[in-house]
Amino acid sequence: MLYREAGQFRATYAEDQQIFPLRQDRIGVAALLVFAFVVIPLVGDQYWLSAILTPFLIFALAALGLNILTGYAGQLSLGTAAFMAVGAFATYNFVLRVPGIPILVAFVLAGICAALVGIAFGLPSLRIKGFYLAVATLAAQFFVLWAIQRIGWITNYSASGVITAQNYSILGIPIDTPVSKYVLTLSIVTVLALLAKNLARSETGRAFMAVRDMDVAASVIGIPLMRTKLLAFAISSFYCGVAGALYAYTYLGTVEPEAFNLDLSFRILFMIIIGGVGSVLGSFLGAAFIVLLPIVLNYVVPPVSEATGIEISHAIISNLELMIFGGLIIFFLIVEPHGLARLWQIGKEKLRLWPFPH
């Protein structure tokens, strides 16, 4: 009833191919953006902004990057964190070695560095698929971290490999408060998410999905497999690289190479499995889920333990988190391989009729 397209006629192909064809979606997205850009910075406290919302956005961006590669183009990768590391350490070096470089330019250049590394480690995808490709990308994960730790130049010869993000400003406004860091992250993530949505609905996105669904048929209608796969690796790594740069510059401030370990790659993979493979929205839902779950558990479990009289220690809560993750991943793989995004879509289809039965 509330959510349906009745009365919205699309008379031209241009109208039919809009990024959000439904009026309700357009209003919803606009409202969400206003809320995120205006309301949250006004009311959000420091803890929420810098410990929850900023990392959520960064993880969403990294998940989006992985989703482009794995969800859209069908190439499984376990090297996400490595590409993020390239982005973070490349930004550090650009700011360090190019005096006066605008930070946004440094982010873009860092993304391009990550894209180049992504292409290099994407080369095996031309010959191997699926499981074997995942193992090949694992090489990226270990090699990149090893290189960062061993090549002193990359970390500016810091003893433990730890780098500290330099201070930076945009248009003379120093980005040093939780609010400004949140707004910067949000702006970058919003722009990149819209670009990803555009890519998904145009020729590049269709070529990615064609390669994913049936590569022989894709090549028979003229889609060059090599170029398409490498482009997927490049774009995906660009997104991961920018996410890594933000991870260092708007979230942690001080990072060591170990922050980008295999654990992080797996976390991001879980995000897209739970959120929805092959969906821009799913990347955000998955990231929100994984960032928020521990917090929700911390709020929910103590009252429950008090009420029931069962003593639950913090160690058990963090184990509980792992158990719930594991259980949910198995649940989603079996029951809903398209994740939360698919549940959202089903919900929307139901809402078309609600509250009437027909």
């Binding site: 192909y13 669904d213 049936m214 022989v216 048929a217 028979v220 003229g222």
Partner: protein, 280 residues
């Protein structure tokens, strides 16, 4: 049946170089000479030669395992033969490269449906236009200028094909949800979106009921008639083959055993033996 199709030929929007008037079979567009293909010890094709003339409907028939699908795979470069030459539009080569075949105007459908199952009908057909899109991924990401214009232009072309094959009602449906007969039609649509000059159809009517077969026959004839597309088709239904094809090649155990008009082939003793068996 041929006469029916000619009568039906109306004011349909042609996407390919439409002949308009009655189609005229022209010079050979594809010549296959002495093609041999082996997988290890299995000889799939042995010295097969035939030609396909412009605007004709050419059938390849033969018992199971005769090498029919292998022949199509050789023509559009999925398989690379050990011997022989393939001449397409006057250019001879030892083997085709898949991408080049597509760029040169060879379209293809598969015996087992090879649609992109995660995508809608519309997106599936739009992928058929990929070779004609010039904008780069950056323009597409920004959705500006050429990228936006091209998307609309190609959407218009694709809608013409959707109209032509009468699948308007399912354009936004994911192909995985469609029944078999419609999936076959969508696959034909995707191949047509390439505006091919030569269309290879691998058993387009396999597994269909009578009504669906009649529809598909009509579409194949209409494509040939209105767009002037040359068609090479593999089919097991002899009724269909004899009705719609101009000339027939018969393969058996990787060798060509007959070649000619449907009537000639039907009367050929070697063909009868291949299909019915022969007493030793």
């Amino acid at each position: 049946m041929r006469a029916d199709a000619t009568a039906q030929q109306g004011a349909g929007g042609g996407t390919a170089p439409a002949t308009g008037a009655a189609r005229a079979v022209g010079a050979p567009i594809l010549v296959v000479e002495g093609v041999s293909l082996a997988f290890g010890g299995v000889k799939a094709l042995q010295g097969v030669s035939f030609d396909v003339r412009e605007h004709e409907i050419r059938a390849i028939i033969g018992p199971n395992g005769a090498g029919k699908s292998s022949m199509l795979n050789v023509i559009n470069g999925v398989y690379h033969p050990q011997e022989g030459t393939i001449t397409f539009k006057g250019r001879s080569r030892h083997d085709m490269v898949v991408h080049e075949a597509a760029a040169q105007g060879i379209g293809r459908t598969f015996q087992n449906i090879a649609l992109f199952r995660g995508m809608t009908v519309l997106d599936n057909i739009m992928t058929g236009r990929n070779l004609k899109i010039r904008s780069t991924f950056l323009e597409q990401a920004l959705w500006i200028g050429r990228a936006k214009r091209e998307e609309l232009e190609h959407r218009r072309k694709v809608e013409e094909i959707i109209d032509f094959l009468e699948i308007q009602h399912i354009r936004k449906t994911p192909v995985g949800r469609l029944p078999y007969g419609l999936q076959k039609r969508v696959e034909l649509a995707r191949a047509l979106a390439m505006e091919p000059e030569l269309l290879l159809l691998d058993e387009p009517m396999a597994g269909m009921n009578l009504e669906e077969k009649q529809d598909m026959c009509r579409f194949v004839l209409d494509v040939n008639e209105q767009f002037g597309t040359t068609i090479v088709l593999i089919e097991h239904d002899m009724g269909v083959v004899m009705d719609i094809s101009d000339r027939v090649v018969v393969l058996d155990y990787g060798r060509k055993i007959a070649d000619g008009t449907p009537d000639e082939v039907r009367a050929n003793q070697a063909v009868i033996d291949a299909y019915l068996g022969v007493a030793h």
